[in-house]
Symmetry: C2
């Protein structure tokens, strides 16, 4: 029988990986469609039901959704990685949005083509943004019992772990070096049996 | 008696206004703290409990939250502007995230200081981003019975209307000109009695 859910993304970690981790955590069967670099993306793109030109897209019961954070939140509700009241969900959502703000600093630098713009952005990322966010993340994780929010494992943690590989790829080093809170989250999440099983079986990616 | 909620932002519309509109819609009493340009923001900032250096912040029952989208979603749950199942909420969340992506194109241009970077960004915003998003928004609104999602009024509509004033300020014109779907949402939301009452009593802002 076909899986109830279908995720379409490229064969990289990036914005698809947090969704894959959350679905795997919940033992939710999904079709993991990966467009590879051998595929002709410009010719495939018009054949896909992409609402705003961007992947991932997520399909279920004949309906199509986009926006990776929104998909993660939906998947997290099914996987029981959300809070137990509205304020807890606010804290989890705010943590995920802040991790996304952090990600956008990487994206702004990495995808810039003009070297005159790219170099100062790289300097700002390394010298200002990384220490600013990592210091605050560490304090937040310390206050939250080793997690991003509400003192226990939530989808904000899986969102971070899912993005970590591409952030480290862009950075050229492991950003959890010297950040025991972030490192701890990465290790704890990767050790969860369902997550470990997914990581062991996923196809290799270049980033 | 003090209001149960307290929102702290600057005396502009911006990221605070969607929260103000959603709370007003729900008749939820809140303290509407506005830091003005006469206040000395750099001296006030260290006195506020700001988790990641940015406003708005939102306080309730001794707890503090940040991230405007997360605050909007929380407020929308209290104001009953959310969906009736997880997939509907996914569609609303995706609409709000897409409106936020659109906003970020304005921010990327407006706050850039280097004229050599700013000018091409302005050109991209006007010639590519505006027509791209507006065409897609119009189609989405047409499919959704005159609203952004699930065929009825949700917080995604109030999120758009709350941001519209600052987007128009940056653009120097009304982006709903020639976009009947977006214009219709703005008019419908502003005509809701609780929203109209808020708009009539809010302090004047420069943008």
């Amino acid at each position: 029988m076909a899986a109830a859910y279908k995720l379409t993304y490229f064969n990289v970690t990036g914005l698809g990986e947090p969704v894959r981790l959350i679905l795997s955590y919940g033992n939710i069967d999904f079709e993991d469609i990966r467009i590879t670099f051998d595929d002709n993306w410009p010719s495939i793109k018009p054949t896909l039901p992409i609402p705003y030109g961007q992947l991932p897209i997520f399909e279920h019961a004949g309906k199509i959704a986009h926006q990776s954070l929104a998909i993660c939140r939906y998947a997290a509700k099914q996987a029981k990685l959300v809070g137990s009241n509205d304020w807890e969900d606010l804290e989890i959502d705010a943590a995920a949005d802040t991790i996304n703000d952090f990600r956008l600093k990487f994206v702004d630098y990495y995808y810039e083509k003009d070297p005159k713009v790219k170099e100062p952005r790289k300097a700002t990322l390394y010298k200002e943004m990384l220490p600013f966010y990592i210091e605050k993340f560490e304090k937040q994780i310390e206050k939250n019992n080793g997690y991003f929010a509400i003192g226990k494992l939530t989808w904000a943690d899986l969102y971070f772990v899912g993005l970590l590989e591409i952030l480290n790829f862009i950075l050229g080093k492991d950003l959890t070096d010297g950040a025991p809170g972030l490192r701890g989250i990465n290790e704890k999440v990767r050790a969860i049996p369902q997550i470990k099983a997914y990581l062991d079986k996923r196809p290799p990616t270049i980033r």
